[in-house]
């Protein structure tokens, strides 16, 4: 991992509780300007909660109990709601999984983009509107003059996601959180949206935190990957290192479960046995132990921490040296 570059955003031992259970547990990662870090994991692994915490928009039931969220030298975890409002949309923006649902159905998209600009800049409506129109050009929406006056229901899902990206980027944020940005879209539109995000990162030096469960998307766009399991980071590494040589049994099995083009046509899909544990059932040991083919008594009794395996590759497993066994099983 590229630790040398000054991290723009660093999440440090972030812990979030719901009903007393650590649903996000000591999650740490950093992201530098112009880089993309992917948080990968199954539904309920805490990746979305992590992103909401970065925006100070945790649902009422969830509470951050520990950890820091540093945007350069400001700890977002402790600033007031009033100060956080100046950060949201301006320094950190987010795009969501359901673009159409994330837009107010009764307000034109132009107004909604302009609104995002006006919240942070005291400009006239006309000026904000012109800015918004320019933004539509930047995200590649044809006929922006007309689109400005349309309502979300008149636009396709891909188009709505471009609108959301316009809203997210109009104030030139330094960090963009993309929470499953392409999950609800067609495959062809997915590629377009990913290309657009890549282009924007390159042009503007925006740091992206990409939340996804899609390994294909990760391979396409991410620089670093943090694999999350049941609220904890299992493994974190530069993308190539992770795909070439996973150092955590969960990652190895996850990668093995992605169907490949050269699989036999009728071959069974590889799966990971068992279910993600319920937060109320988190034990003292490794949370993956019950599903892990390498698990030993030690795994069930003691929680492994992330250990450095060199080249910025870190994994939280007691049996990193035995991973070859899994790769054999998987292939």
């Amino acid at each position: 991992m590229d630790v040398a570059a000054n991290p723009l955003l660093s999440v440090d031992r972030l812990t979030i509780d719901i009903a007393g259970a650590h649903v996000v547990d000591e999650v740490s990662f950093t992201v530098a300007p112009g880089k993309v870090i992917a948080l990968v994991g199954e539904s309920g692994c805490g990746k979305s909660l992590t992103s909401y915490a970065m925006l100070g928009l945790l649902p009422p039931a969830a509470r951050r109990t520990e950890g820091r969220i540093m945007l350069e030298n400001v700890d977002l975890a402790v600033i007031s709601e009033r100060r956080f409002r100046k950060v949201r949309g301006k320094d950190i923006s987010i795009i969501f999984q359901e673009p159409s649902a994330s837009l107010d159905p009764l307000t034109t998209v132009g107004e909604q983009i302009a609104e995002a600009y006006r919240v942070h800049h005291g400009v006239s409506k006309t000026e904000a509107f012109e800015k918004a129109r320019q933004m539509l050009v930047d995200v590649g929406i044809p006929d922006p003059g007309r689109r400005m006056y349309q309502y979300p229901f008149e636009l396709s899902g891909g188009m709505c996601q471009r609108i959301m990206i316009s809203i997210a980027l109009i104030c030139g944020p330094r960090v963009l959180i993309a929470d499953e940005p392409t999950t609800a879209l067609d495959v062809t539109i997915q590629a377009q949206i990913l290309d657009l995000m890549k282009k924007l990162v390159a042009e503007r030096g925006t740091a992206i935190v990409l939340i996804t469960h899609d390994m294909g998307v990760v391979a396409d766009i991410a620089d670093d990957v943090a694999v999350m399991y049941a609220g904890r980071i299992a493994e974190i590494a530069p993308v190539h290192a992770l795909f070439r040589e996973p150092k955590h049994p969960y990652t190895a099995l996850l990668l093995a479960s992605v169907p490949k083009l050269d699989d036999a046509p009728k071959a069974d899909l590889a799966t990971i046995e068992g279910m993600v544990p319920n937060p109320s059932e988190f034990g003292v040991g490794c949370r993956f132990a019950d599903r892990c083919p390498l698990a030993t008594d030690k795994c069930r009794l003691e929680q492994p921490s992330l250990v450095d395996c060199g080249n910025g590759h870190r994994s939280a497993c007691w049996h990193i040296d035995r991973l070859a066994e899994i790769r054999k099983v998987a292939t």
């Binding site: 925006l55 928009l57 409002r85 100046k86 950060v87 949201r88 949309g89 301006k90 923006s93 987010i94 969501f96 359901e98 649902a101 994330s102 837009l103 107010d104 159905p105 009764l106 307000t107 609104e115 995002a116 919240v119 942070h120 309502y151 229901f153 008149e154 959301m164 809203i167 997210a168 104030c171």
Partner: protein
């Protein structure tokens, strides 16, 4: 949009026609009005004579067509008691009821909607609990009881407001509150639930994520979205207020069509009852058509698609 408007108008027309027909059938089921008009000692010939004069001896379907023909010419028959057109009598009382219904609507909307907004956005606060208590009271105390209670407290004991009659503004206050209380609760509950529903939607979180305060998101986006179910209620409530006036006007001796309806039923002056029933039904139909048009104004998905 034109298509949408045309559809709504046709629906309204059909509904109104149904009402006219049902009213006609009910009036006929209630018996032969001729007997009410003749003196106690009238002979059978006199009764038959009068029945023939009034046309009640014709076949039902002829009478029905005659009735519809009359309605088309705004001829609603003559009051059997006062011997003047029923419509004129109702029209002379109508302004009072309109005043009262308007007063009640002001109470219902003016208090109900803000209360609903506060209850939805300040959940768990003391003020929310106070409002909930008021709303539950308004919803559960029957109109005739709340009217009498108001008279007892503000009219008799405190002597702040007149106990009955009309004319001054002060006389309008208590009947408006008594009549509007139930509607107020309905508005408050609908507004509250509708806003809570909207607050859980993704666009609210997205609005906050672009730097808006929760209050701004509510004002700029949530209220308009939450208004749609409330509009439906408003349409129904206006009709309910007119119908509810029947009781309140009696309690407060308010000379509107509600009081007139009770008096006319007691004196079996069917023509007047018929006009009042038709009028209230017409208001129901009219307000629901208006609501459909207001939907279209608020919601582009209706305005632009259908």
């Amino acid at each position: 949009m034109l298509n949408y408007a045309a559809q709504r108008l046709i629906q309204a027309f059909v509904a109104m026609f149904g009402v006219l027909t049902i009213v006609f059938i009910v009036m006929h089921l209630s018996g032969d009005p001729t007997l009410l008009l003749v003196p106690q000692d009238a002979s059978a010939e006199m009764i038959a004579e009068l029945r023939h004069q009034l046309g009640f001896d014709r076949p039902v379907w002829v009478q029905y067509l005659d009735y519809l023909y009359g309605l088309l010419h705004l001829d609603f028959g003559v009051s059997v008691v006062q011997r003047v057109p029923a419509l004129d009598i109702v029209a002379s009382r109508l302004p009072y009821t309109i005043q009262l219904a308007a007063g009640a609507l002001v109470v219902a909307i003016g208090f109900g909607i803000p209360a609903g907004i506060v209850m939805a956005t300040m959940r768990g606060s003391v003020i929310e609990r106070i409002l909930t208590a008021i709303v539950v009271t308004g919803q559960s105390v029957p109109t005739f009881l709340s009217g009498i209670l108001l008279i007892f407290i503000f009219g008799v004991t405190l002597r702040w407001l007149p106990t009955s009659g009309s004319g001054e503004f002060s006389a309008l206050i208590m009947p408006s509150i008594a009549l509007g209380a139930l509607s107020m609760s309905t508005f408050a509950r609908m507004t509250r639930i509708s806003i809570i529903d909207e607050l859980g939607k993704d666009y609210v979180r997205a609005g906050r994520a672009r730097g808006l305060s929760l209050g701004s998101v509510v004002v700029r986006h949530v209220l308009r979205n939450a208004a749609i179910p409330v509009i439906t209620i408003a349409a129904l409530e206006i009709g309910n207020l007119l119908a509810g006036a029947v009781i309140i006007e009696t309690v407060f001796a308010w000379p509107g069509i509600g009081q007139l309806a009770i008096q006319s039923i007691q004196s079996r002056d069917f023509m007047i009852v018929q006009v009042i029933v038709l009028l209230i039904s017409f208001v129901y139909v009219l307000t629901s058509v208006l609501a459909d048009f207001v939907y279209a104004l608020v919601d582009p998905r209706i305005r632009l698609v259908r």
